[in-house]
Symmetry: C2
Subunit: 337 residues, 2 copies
């Protein structure tokens, strides 16, 4: 009897010893790519407070709304927003049906790969070209075009697939939020339909939780098949003040967490974190990804043409937004390297 008991105790102890490192690690480190320190501690403290029913800061699950920007917050945005790179490739592909483009700016420069010449044409003509890449196309054709491009195109500097240039620490953060009952939405200045092609697979964010810049669309029965056709008139520019509007339109309630990386996200961070009245004690967290790592990714802020971070960096101090130092706070940048 004593021998059997001893064996039982031994087996039990052995099980605990084997199980411990795994479960203790999982319980204590939901964010393994975030370096131990005040940034990581602030995130974990916030999540613990809003999910602890005994805390004064407890927030019921239905109100745990998290919103995050995409370009520069979930994946890279240099040397150009990746959607811009897709649009240029699409203009080149469409050019064979538009011989007139070889004589017409900014198409001519775009097709020739002359970025400088293209940019010199000004905002109006550039936007018009951009919309030409995105409209008069069915929803299905558009999704296939983006999906095919993402599967085969490589970043000019890293030579990685674009979908491999997502930030591992942010993937962990989205998982951590979801594991704690948050509903995570992407609120991006990029196109809503572009993002939805990969948001579920790459970020675990289903299409119905993606908000982005939006253009008109129309419905028709085309040869008896229900069809959505994308059109050219923009109905929401989901950037700056457009982000709170997009949140109001799609979500209909105030987030308690928002992440961004540029002045384009400032209004969303204000909308999320600033008190509505003197009695408003809603616990909130605003987070800014600061691109400080020229070696592993890119370093830019106040003077960048993509993802300019200037006013929002000043506001961060005043509003107590958490500024993430990519170089110092992240042990890893991309999942594969």
């Amino acid at each position: 009897m004593r021998t059997r008991l001893t064996r039982h105790v031994l087996v039990l102890l052995l099980s605990i010893t084997i199980a411990l490192p795994i479960s203790a690690k999982a319980a204590s480190d939901p964010l393994p790519s975030w370096k131990e320190g005040p940034t990581k501690a602030t995130i974990i403290d916030f999540v613990k407070r809003v999910t602890d029913p005994k805390s004064d800061d407890f927030v019921p699950p239905s109100e745990r709304i998290a919103t995050t920007d995409n370009d520069g917050t979930l994946w890279s945005e240099q040397p150009l927003y990746f959607q811009g790179l897709w649009a240029l490739d699409r203009i080149k592909a469409l050019a064979k049906d538009h011989p007139e483009w070889t004589q017409q700016e900014p198409y001519k420069s775009a097709i020739a790969g002359d970025m400088k010449g293209m940019m010199a044409q000004g905002k109006g003509p550039l936007l018009k070209m951009l919309m030409a890449a995105h409209s008069d196309i069915t929803a299905e054709e558009f999704a296939s075009s983006v999906s095919d491009w993402l599967a085969k195109s490589h970043h000019p500097k890293t030579n990685m697939l674009y979908t491999d240039m997502v930030y591992q620490p942010m993937l962990e953060l989205l998982d951590y939020l979801r594991a704690n009952g948050f509903k995570v939405f992407i609120v991006s200045g990029g196109g809503i339909d572009f993002l939805r092609v990969f948001s579920e697979e790459r970020y675990g964010v289903p299409p119905e939780q993606v908000v982005g810049t939006t253009a008109d669309a129309k419905y028709e029965l085309r040869d008896g098949i229900p069809t959505i056709v994308k059109e050219g008139n923009i109905t929401l520019i989901d950037d700056k003040g457009g982000k709170p509007v997009g949140i109001y339109r799609h979500i209909g309630r105030r987030p308690i967490f928002a992440a961004g990386n540029s002045d384009g996200d400032m209004a969303m961070l204000q909308y999320t974190t600033m008190a509505r009245n003197a009695d408003d004690k809603t616990p909130t967290l605003g987070l800014i990804v600061h691109h400080t790592d020229a070696e592993r990714e890119f370093a830019y802020d106040r003077k960048s043409s993509m993802g300019k971070l200037d006013k929002a960096l000043d506001a961060a101090a005043e509003q107590k937004w958490l500024v993430v130092d990519m170089k110092g706070d992240w042990l890893k940048v991309f999942p594969k390297k």
Copy 2:
């Protein structure tokens, strides 16, 4: 030993006998207000097929998207869409700040309660007045106005609160779909912001799952408070062909279930149920609530100015949409009577 075993068997049998009527009823009757018959059987068969992993018609939970109209499908819409009744009351309330309205149509008729005179002013002026009721107001003020009105206003015929004029069988259907892994969205011709005031409490549909007719909004810091202000320019008329567009905009994938009650829902039912190509075998169900019960609710279809059901009723036969006979298929109409 034999006695103990016998007792165990007896207790076990007794437990089964006691448990059986309850669990069998719960398992066999998720829709107690629906009369037994082909309509109810069709709904249950559909849900069983798409949720049974062994069925050829199995649909993974992430793709179990259900969309339902509101006016005439989830609650009544006679003698006027309830939002129209709210708008008229609001115009009356705003009139004290607009003395000029007493001399200006259609305001003059509206304030006097002269529906006939008001309707005679034509669509353009009516729409303009409707927008005056909905715009230049903050999101919070708008929500309070609707909420206050719903709490105290009564239907001119039934004298019930409007939120008591929801259909009990449809509430059961929404619960049944959710219990089977469906994500339920409301897709209404009514205003998105009006609906969101009561959709979560009344239908269990959170604001982020409400799609409706939408107007512009702007964001501003008003005395340091992040504020959304509703504006007058409509960006989506979520009716007829606008419903598939609204679904594309907000949900980004095709529903497998859609419910409606009028020609305004026909495009949504087509979009949901019609095959995308020769190989498309997606199991879908389109449902139409047919108002056939003048005694318990209202009876109307092909000639009604609210919720006209004409082309969609013809299409139902061709497309095999399930037409619900309110009088014959529903044991109960409203939760309280």
